[in-house]
Symmetry: D2
Subunit: 137 residues, 4 copies
């Protein structure tokens, strides 16, 4: 993300991202942050390939989960994942460039539901839904 964009981005989510060693170690790049919204990019490397010669679903999950974590922390108080589900729509291979877009669907009390779509170009490769929980004040 350009520093100009960083200035306008929600501080709570940015702080979380800056401290998120795990996501950056996987080469994830934060592309955009907005209210209840985040877009993250990742390229599939050798280390992410599983026993079927395909990208381990866990890495696709991790990309989606990062977009979810960012999107649900754009409003301030620390918010964590309570539960998530993912459907694997198309196989992902070495070298594929994936983009995950997370978007708030609804919020109620301390809970929230966020949808994340993971795409390679225009093709959807996974659909993820995350349930968030905001930690007590």
């Amino acid at each position: 993300m350009l520093s100009a964009d960083r200035d306008a981005a929600p501080a709570s989510a940015l702080r979380m991202w800056d401290a998120d060693v795990a996501s950056r170690a996987l080469g994830m790049e934060l592309e955009e942050l907005g209210d209840g919204y985040a877009r993250v990019r990742m390229t599939v490397t050798d280390a992410m390939v599983n026993g079927h010669g395909l990208c381990h679903g866990g890495y696709v999950f991790m990309l989606a989960d990062s977009a979810f974590a960012l999107a649900c922390n754009t409003e301030g108080p620390t918010t964590v994942a309570a539960a998530c589900d993912i459907a694997f729509v198309a196989p992902v291979r070495l070298g594929d460039e994936l983009v995950a877009e997370g978007r708030e669907r609804t919020r109620f009390g301390r809970s929230g539901i966020f949808d994340v779509t993971v795409r390679r170009g225009d093709a959807v490769v996974a659909e993820f839904r995350g349930h968030s929980r905001t930690l007590g004040t």
Copy 2:
């Protein structure tokens, strides 16, 4: 797994595991394999810590997903994950030693449902359910 145990383990799942660079790169150890069953161990390292100082849910997912992938490939034909869900039951921290146990719940046609419980000692830290799909004959 001891080599004696390897001899008795389902060959299809073992082959998959041997080719699974991603899971071993995370330090996962296969402890036991049986019919529709797998147990895998992983220690939480620095690289797995996220922005809240906790283990990134994605790594807990990946451990559960590996136990699922192994369990659903113990019967022969190549079987992949179609969809998964995970509930995060307790926080996981740096140094925690996690054990994931995956077990077949039901099979129907080319589909299967597997449950994976992730524990630290006796405490459950995550419950995972995976839906598998066996690839064409």
Copy 3:
């Protein structure tokens, strides 16, 4: 639905609806049908109240499921629910008028993912996601 609207609606979904005794017995009204889209209305009656004095989640599920079934049958070949999940966002009470809107999210091979939001006025009361499977050739 007005007969003028019926003329423009996808025939496959309409036929299914006309044969769906169960949904009509619950007083559901089909309000709109489009490509991968359906909107259905239902009022909560005495018979739908559960042991906590609230609408049984099963009836909210059934309304969402009907919108899902309609939306995923708008394209022709018979399509059934393979799996669904629902999150209950707000309590629903006797007399509440609920509207479920189902919308295709993605399709791949014989599978599809549809999202259904159930609202009372502007307030979301449940979020549902359905996984569909199109039958034989």
Copy 4:
């Protein structure tokens, strides 16, 4: 349930069941209640058949949901469904006699996870997982 069995059953779940007009209107019979456990039976009637000549998935859900609600209320404080998912494993038809068995999987804080299997004889027809939330004291 025989009155002898009622005497030994958890009072909180029994009270809930006695007030649950909806479940009894569908002909559900409570067969057994224990700690974190419930078994409920239901026969598929004409009114439960959907547009494909099969039992509406919503009624299978409702049966599973009732077993879940009972099982998660066996320990006292009022507990409600927060979210549920169901996989439809085999078609269900008019006249089928279904039995749903719900069992606690894990509890943490005010949350719980319960698994419900719905069977026709020995054959599994649906697998359900419910997430419960105990209401504040």
